[in-house]
C-alpha cells in the first residue's frame, strides 16, 4: 500500500516521490560516468611523469603534488607549435563551416523549392571531364586552378554542343569510333616507341574517359529528380570517411595541395555539407510556400526571398547547424592526419603528436592540449546550449 503510493504523483503534472528518487539515482550515476574522464583529464594535466607512470593517483595534494610542468612544456617550450595549431584549427574550422553552411543552405533551399530534372548523362559527362582535368594537372605541372577552369569550360562547351545539335545515330557511332581509335593509337604509341613516349598512355586514358562520357551522353536517357539528388547528398555521409581518405590524399598530393589550409577547408566543407543540407532542408520545408509566392508577386527575386525571408525564418536552425558543424570540424582527426603534416596541423593532430617514439606517451602534455582544445567548445556549448537543443528540436518536431 505504502510502496505503491510512493510511485503515485501527489498532483496532476507532478512526478511521484519514488519516481524522483529513481530517476535522480540514475542521473547521478550517469553524471559520474560522464564527468569522471574530464576530472581525470584535469588532474593528469597537473601531474609529473612519476605520478602517472607507477601507480594511479586520484586526489591532488593527497596522492600527488600538482605541478605546472606539463603546462610549461606546451605553452612555453612548445609555444610556437601550440600557437600555430590553434590558429590553424580556428582558420580551418571557421572557414570550412562558413563555406559549408553557405553552400549547404543554398542547396537545401533549392532542393526544397525548385524542381530539378537533370539528365544522368550530363552529370556523368561533368564527372568524367573533371577527372580528365585532374589527370592533366597531376601529370603535367599545370596549376590546379587553371586545370579546374579548363575542365569547366571544356565541359560547358561539350555539353552545349552535344545538347543543342541534332546528331544522327550513325554520326554518333562514327564520332565514338573515331575517339576510340584515337585512344588505341595513343595507347599503343608508347609500346611502338612513337613520338609520344610516356605521354601516350596518359593521353589515351584522358580520351578514353571523354569517349565514355560522350557515349553515355549519346545513349543513356535517364533523368534524376530532387529526391535522388537529396539522397545522393546524404549518402555521402553514409560512406565512412576512411574509405575516401586515400583517394582524397592522392588527389591533393597530385595537385600539390597537401598540408595547405585550402585543402583542409575544402575537404571539411564537403564532408560536412550533407549534414547542413539535410538539416536546413527540413527547416525550409516548414516554411509555408505562401510566403514565398506572396513575395514573388511583390517583386522579390529568388535570392532576395532567400535572404530576406527564408534565412531569417530558419535562423535558429541555421545557428544550431553552424555550431554543430563548427564543433565537428574542430574535433576532426582522421582527415587531418592524412592531409596535414606540419604547416596545416590542427589541434587534434597535436594531441596525437604527444605519442612519441622515443619518450612514450606524454599523457600530461596530451591532457594540457586536450584541455585548451575543449575549452572553446565547452564555453560555446554552455552559453548556447538552449539555443542548440531548441533549434534542433524545432526542426525535428515541425519537420
Amino acid at each position: 500500500m505504502q510502496l505503491s503510493k510512493l510511485f503515485e504523483p501527489n498532483k496532476i503534472g507532478e512526478t511521484s516521490t519514488g519516481g524522483k528518487i529513481v530517476s535522480y539515482f540514475f542521473l547521478f550515476i550517469w553524471s559520474i560516468i560522464v564527468i569522471f574522464p574530464i576530472y581525470w583529464l584535469f588532474i593528469t594535466a597537473f601531474k609529473l611523469p612519476g605520478d602517472v607512470k607507477f601507480h594511479p593517483t586520484y586526489l591532488p595534494w593527497v596522492d600527488f603534488t600538482p605541478s605546472l610542468h606539463a603546462w610549461e612544456n606546451i605553452l612555453l617550450g612548445d609555444s610556437e607549435d601550440t600557437y600555430h595549431s590553434y590558429i590553424n584549427s580556428i582558420i580551418i574550422s571557421f572557414f570550412s563551416t562558413i563555406l559549408s553552411v553557405i553552400v549547404g543552405s543554398l542547396a537545401a533551399y533549392a532542393l526544397a523549392r525548385i524542381k530539378y530534372n537533370p539528365k544522368f548523362s550530363t552529370i556523368f559527362l561533368f564527372v568524367v571531364i573533371m577527372a580528365s582535368a585532374f589527370i592533366v594537372v597531376g601529370n603535367y605541372a599545370i596549376d590546379w586552378s587553371l586545370g579546374t577552369i579548363l575542365g569547366l569550360s571544356l565541359f560547358y562547351l561539350l555539353w552545349k554542343t552535344l545538347q543543342k545539335r541534332y546528331i544522327s545515330n550513325r554520326s554518333k557511332l562514327v564520332i565514338l569510333m573515331f575517339l576510340f581509335l584515337l585512344t588505341l593509337f595513343f595507347g599503343f604509341s608508347t609500346n611502338l616507341n612513337l613520338f609520344f613516349e610516356d605521354n601516350g598512355k596518359i593521353m589515351a586514358s584522358i580520351i578514353l574517359l571523354i569517349t565514355l562520357g560522350i557515349g553515355v551522353f549519346f545513349f543513356i536517357q535517364g533523368k534524376i529528380g530532387n529526391a535522388d539528388i537529396l539522397f545522393w547528398v546524404i549518402s555521402q555521409r553514409i560512406l565512412p570517411p576512411v574509405v575516401v581518405v586515400l583517394p582524397i590524399y592522392i588527389m591533393f598530393q597530385r595537385i600539390g595541395l597537401l598540408d595547405t589550409h585550402i585543402a583542409m577547408i575544402l575537404t571539411y566543407a564537403v564532408v560536412n555539407l550533407p549534414i547542413v543540407v539535410w538539416l536546413i532542408h527540413d527547416f525550409v520545408l516548414t516554411i509555408p510556400i505562401d510566403l514565398e509566392e506572396s513575395a514573388q508577386l511583390d517583386g522579390a527575386s529568388r535570392f532576395y526571398i532567400f535572404w530576406d525571408i527564408i534565412l531569417p525564418l530558419c535562423k535558429q536552425g541555421l545557428a544550431a547547424t553552424t555550431l554543430l558543424i563548427l564543433i565537428l570540424s574542430w574535433n576532426e582527426y582522421l582527415l587531418a592526419t592524412f592531409l596535414s603534416t606540419s604547416k596545416a596541423q590542427t589541434l587534434p593532430i597535436m594531441v596525437s603528436a604527444q605519442i612519441t617514439q622515443d619518450r612514450g606517451i606524454l599523457w600530461w602534455n596530451m591532457c594540457v592540449v586536450i584541455i585548451i582544445m575543449i575549452i572553446p567548445v565547452i564555453t560555446m556549448a554552455f552559453f548556447l546550449q538552449k539555443f542548440i537543443t531548441k533549434g534542433v528540436l524545432l526542426g525535428a518536431v515541425k519537420g
Binding site: E293, A295, Q296, G299, A300, K315
Partner: protein
C-alpha cells in the same frame, strides 16, 4: 516634368485602371485537366468573383493570372499587354492569400513596406505610403506589432494593406475571408466591398461561398470541373441560371430539382400534368423550383402531395423538408409557420418562377409552364 512622371511611374501613382482578359486558358496537372478553355473578360475596376465547389479549378485559374502557375495554352492580358509567360513580378498584380502569408519575422509596418522595399522606394515616400495603406484598413496603430500578436481579422487587414500599398493593376484574392469566424467574415465582407469601390482596382476574387459571391461581385463566374458555367451579375445568375449546376449551386438552400418527363407540350411531374408553351419531344427533364417560390397549402389544394420529413426553424424563416412520394423538396415558409412530423400536406408554387432543364445534359429549357 518628365522626371516627375518617371518618379510617379516608379511608385505606381500613374497606374491607370486596367482590364484583364483570359483567352482560352488551359491547364493540366498530369492527366488531370483542371482548367478547360477558360475565357473571361474583367472590365476596368470591376469586381469579379470566381465561384465553384472545391477542386473546380478556380484557384488554379487565379494562380495562372498571378503567374504562380504556368499556362498550358491560351493567353492572359492585363491592359493591352500580354503577360501569359511573364514572371509574376512584372505583372503588377497583388494577391491576398487564404493564409494571409504575412512574414512572421517582420512587424506590421515592415510587412506593409515589403513591396515598396523590394522596389527600392525609401524614406519619406515609403513611410507615407505605409501610413496611408494602414489607415485605409484601420491598422495605423499597430505598425510596430508582430503578426503573431494580432487577431485573425487584424492579420487579414494587414494582408490587405500590403496588397494595396503599391497600387496594383489587378487585385487577386484567394478565399481571403474563409479563415475568419462567421461574424467577422460578414463585417470584413462589407469593408472589402467598400474598399474595392473606393479604389476602383480591377479585382478577381475566388471563393466557394455563394453568399460572399452574391454580395461582393459585380459579376459572378461560376465554375465546375474546370469549365466556366456562367458569368453574369449576381441577380441574373440567381434569376436566370444557365444550367442545372448553376441553379443548384446558387441560393441557400439550393433550388429543388424534381424529376419528370415531357411529351410534346405536356409535362408530367410526380403524376401531375402541366402544359408548356413549347413543344418538346419525349425527354427526361428536371423541374426547378426555388424554396422561396414554393409554399405549403392544405392537403387537397396544391400541385404535389407530400409528407413532412423535418422542419427547421431559422429565425426569420422556417424550412420544411417534404417527401414527395420517391422525391424530396424544401419549402421556405414564414417563421410563424408550424407543422408536425409526418403531416400530410401539399405544395404549390408560382409557375413563372420555375425552371426547366434537360436531365441528361443539364442545359436549361427555355419553355415555360402555362398551366
Amino acid at each position: 516634368m518628365e522626371q516627375l512622371k518617371d518618379e510617379m511611374d516608379k511608385i505606381g501613382l500613374t497606374s491607370n485602371l486596367k482590364k484583364l482578359s483570359l483567352i482560352n486558358l488551359n491547364k493540366s496537372f498530369g492527366d488531370n485537366h483542371v482548367v478547360k478553355d477558360l475565357s473571361l473578360k474583367v472590365d476596368q475596376g470591376e469586381f469579379v468573383v470566381l465561384l465553384g465547389p472545391s477542386g473546380c479549378g478556380k484557384t488554379t485559374a487565379l494562380r495562372m493570372i498571378a503567374g504562380l502557375e504556368s499556362v498550358d495554352s491560351g493567353e492572359i492580358e492585363i491592359g493591352d499587354s500580354v503577360v501569359t509567360h511573364q514572371l509574376p513580378k512584372y505583372r503588377n498584380i497583388s494577391m491576398v492569400f487564404q493564409s494571409y502569408a504575412l512574414y512572421p519575422h517582420k512587424t506590421v509596418g515592415e510587412n506593409i513596406a515589403f513591396p515598396l522595399k523590394v522596389r527600392g522606394i525609401k524614406g519619406n515616400e515609403r513611410d507615407k505610403s505605409i501610413l496611408e495603406a494602414a489607415k485605409q484598413v484601420h491598422m495605423e496603430g499597430y505598425l510596430n506589432r508582430y503578426p503573431r500578436q494580432l487577431s485573425g481579422g487584424q492579420r487579414q487587414r494587414v494582408a490587405l494593406a500590403r496588397a494595396i500599398v503599391r497600387q496594383p493593376d489587378v487585385f487577386l484574392m484567394d478565399e481571403p475571408l474563409s479563415n475568419l469566424d462567421a461574424k467577422l467574415r460578414v463585417h470584413m465582407r462589407t469593408e472589402l466591398k467598400r474598399m474595392q469601390h473606393e479604389m476602383g482596382i480591377t479585382t478577381v476574387y475566388v471563393t466557394h461561398d455563394q453568399v460572399e459571391a452574391m454580395t461582393l461581385a459585380n459579376r459572378v463566374a461560376i465554375m465546375n470541373e474546370g469549365i466556366l458555367q456562367q458569368i453574369a451579375p449576381p441577380k441574373e445568375i440567381y434569376n436566370n441560371p444557365k444550367n442545372v449546376f448553376v441553379a443548384g449551386f446558387m441560393g441557400s438552400p439550393g433550388m429543388n430539382l424534381i424529376r419528370g418527363s415531357t411529351n410534346n407540350s405536356k409535362m408530367i411531374v410526380l403524376g401531375k400534368e402541366f402544359k408548356l408553351n413549347e413543344n418538346i419531344e419525349n425527354h427526361d427533364i428536371l423541374l426547378g423550383i426555388r424554396p422561396e417560390h414554393a409554399s405549403i397549402t392544405e392537403k387537397n389544394k396544391g400541385f404535389f402531395k407530400g409528407k413532412v420529413f423535418t422542419t427547421e426553424q431559422a429565425g426569420d424563416h422556417t424550412l420544411i423538408n417534404l417527401n414527395l412520394s420517391d422525391q424530396s423538396m424544401i419549402v421556405k415558409m414564414p417563421s410563424d409557420y408550424q407543422t408536425d412530423f409526418d403531416t400530410e400536406l401539399a405544395v404549390t408554387f408560382s409557375m413563372e418562377n420555375t425552371y426547366l432543364f434537360y436531365k441528361d445534359s443539364g442545359e436549361r429549357i427555355e419553355a415555360k409552364i402555362i398551366h
